[in-house]
């Protein structure tokens, strides 16, 4: 009887425990997040830094990676960049990494100047060369933010502006970090 009851309670709590943590909560700032169904071929994903070095998503394996696409002509993008900067500041960079990728096709100097004016301390300027990544990942609306899990698979993406330095986002990310 005792054993039965114990098993019952364990099952009961396990059930409720799972129920609570069944999945990440998409509410508030992250409401518009859409989970990915397709598998990603992450080995093709790369971008460039200011020196022209190719940087691969593979190098960030073992971390949750947030990739945000922005452009100098996109006001909502510029508005949300500081919140991504703050989000990165608040999280351990061994577990989480934010990458912001500029997709301007001309006048890169202008976008670099703009980026510098934003005075972001936890983000680096990266760019997508000749629309490679935007067409590979089928990004036609910006801002678009994609989140990759520790294996480099796309968890999902959010199209539009969000306050990334918010409780909603943190709660969401914590789920994948743990």
């Amino acid at each position: 009887m005792v054993i039965f009851l114990t098993i019952f309670f364990i099952l009961f709590f396990a059930f409720f425990y799972n129920y609570d943590e069944k999945g990440p909560v998409l509410s508030g700032q992250i409401e518009k997040f859409v989970f990915s169904k397709k598998e990603t071929n992450y080995s093709n994903i790369f971008w460039y830094d200011l020196k022209g070095n190719e940087i691969k998503l593979n190098e960030q394996r073992g971390k949750i990676v947030l990739i945000n696409f922005w452009a100098s002509w996109c006001l909502p993008c510029i508005r949300e960049l500081p919140s991504i900067d703050k989000l990165s500041a608040g999280l351990d960079n061994r577990e989480f990494k934010s990458i912001v990728i500029n997709i301007d096709k001309r006048n890169r100097e202008n976008s670099i100047r703009m980026f510098e004016d934003l005075d972001l301390h936890n983000l680096e300027y990266f760019y997508d060369s000749a629309g490679y990544l935007t067409s590979l990942l089928k990004i036609d609306v910006i801002p678009t933010t994609i989140i990759y899990n520790k294996n480099g698979d796309e968890i999902g993406r959010l199209v539009g502006e969000a306050n990334w330095n918010s409780k909603d986002v943190l709660r969401f990310l914590k789920f994948f970090l743990e």
Binding site: A71, S72, W73, C74, L75, P76, C77, I78, R79, N110, R113, D117, D140, V141, I142, P143, V159, G160, E161
Partner: protein
Amino acid sequence: MIINKILYLFFFGFLSILQPQNVLANSSEWVDYEQGKIRLIAENQGKDNLIPYLGIQFSILPGWKIFWRSPGEAGYPLEINNMNSKNVIFNAIQWPYPERFEFGGIYTYGYKKDVVLPIKLDIKDLNLDTSISINLDFLTCKDVCIPKQISLNIPNLTFTQDKNNNIKYLINEYLSKVPKRVVKLSEDNKVFFVTNREGSVLKFYMLKPKIFEQPDIFVETISGINFEKPIFNILNNRNKIEVELPIKNAKKIDYNKLINNPVTVTFVSNSKAEEYTLDIEIKNTDQGNSTELSTIIILAILGGFILNFMPCVLPVLSLKIMNFLDKKSLDLPFIKKSFLFNILGIISTFLFLAVIIILFKLVGINLGWGFHFQEPMFTILVLLIVLFFSLNLFELVNIKIPYWLFPNQNINQRNSSDYKVSFFNGFLATLLATPCTAPIIGTTVAFALQSSYLNIILIFFCMGFGMSLLPLFFVFFPNFISYLPKSGKWNIYIKRILGSLLMLTAGWLFIVLIKQIELYLLMILLIIIISFYVFIFFQNSNRWKINNILSNFTVISVVTIFILSVLFVNHKNNNNLSSEIKYVNSNKINQYISAGKIVLVDVTAEWCITCQVNKYFVLERDDVKMKLNEKEVVLIEVDWTRRDQEVLSYINSFDRSGIPLNIVYGKVTPKGIVLPEVLTKEVLFRAINIAKGSKNLAEK
């Protein structure tokens, strides 16, 4: 959104079935792009029976927008790429004036709902078939931004006469919104770049249009500067408008690009727009006219008060206070009255100076501040007074100088002349204060000299009042003196310190004098002073006491060493000092500038204390000297120790009436940047960088 899309598709699909293709020959089909729809329309008939205008017609869904040719702080304008058009040449897009969109202090310019972008066409040969096939690249934004590429075509343009033409009407409606080019905006046709404490602004003036409604201004610069919302000030005479555009991120501007390229200004009022091309000119910080009289009055009072603590004034007033300490009992009514006369002396001297300035102004002579120190006789007189005063404090000169000149130990016997002494004390303090042009006084005096006679009197009175605040304190609280320790040994030390301050003042006056009069006159003066001193020495009953001889010897040797060293140094520096003004007024500066050099003009005078302060703290510091010694910077020093009308008119040309005056000329700033009276290294380097047209002002 999907429903919209389906509706559009359905609707236009339906239309295209319904209407035969030839009626729509001069327009393309609508292309739906989710956030709106777009098509080409072409005018059927122009003046010359050509097709003058093509229109790109947008019908944009609520909330979405597209951008003007200058999108503001984000966005990009539509671009046309010719694909396979035949027999046609596209001219530039005629942009209708835009709408201003704001979000959290960020501005973008563009269009929402319906807009037509007209383009003038040139048909190569009327006898050939004409077709249009273009690819449009544009951006549409709401809470996200979506770049779009859309191809549009009109396969066969027709040239039929059609009087009832909706397309023509539609295109004309938007052509009327294209800003009209106006060649001359105002008498100067210039935009002024003004830097003040709050930041930098572009400023220009225009005539007020008859209907001044919902005005807005869009300024386009080659360096892509962003602006805050414009501020319109209707000026006093009611038909002029002052437009101010605060510059965002002014520190990061590429001044070289800004100054050397004209700006395009689009002015919108009452749904009509005009466009001007204006040159930029760097204008100095607003002074005077923008300052309110009330702030000037406050500054005058404050400045007057500060004058009390200038090294040349402090001894005069402190001695007055100390005289009362010698008294056995305080006679309060007497102290009160004495200070009242002191105040009277100060204020009447200020008023006296104001009257002199006004009188000279009436004759047409603009006296600068500190003008009396340009008169050698005055300098000599003050020098003598200060010198004897100082020696008196060291108790080296014990003869009775005319009683009204100095208050001394005899003050215990009071009589009516005590009040004269107090009055003279105020007079002397004021006169000694004038060359110590404190920064605040400089501004107020500059303001005063430029305004009406009544204002001159008012402002000088306020300075006098400010300076009187200290004695006024004793008028109200004469008891305060009794809290000071009675005279004793400390008293003697204080006297010595004050005496040294006065000695320094005398030394400084002497340096001023060297610049003003010939050397032999100076020598004669020195001989007279020394013989007088010796005469006094023999009058002294204690003359052969060791102490007396020793202190006299000290004074004489210090004075001699000082005079000799000053003469020596001065002799070295005295090579054609007065000729620099010729450089300044001639083409010399222009020559330097066109040779790519920066010119720093420093107008200075020996009697100008602030100038000496600037020299000591800025101009003669090692790192500044290094910068000035670089081949690209030329320093021209203009000396105003003696009165010189040419120098004064140069100073006046900058709306200043006194010195220090420092101006930086360069390729970018041919009219010169006027630096503030009190220099700092940062200000100087910044000005030099602006003059150079340096890209990054933050660099040191």
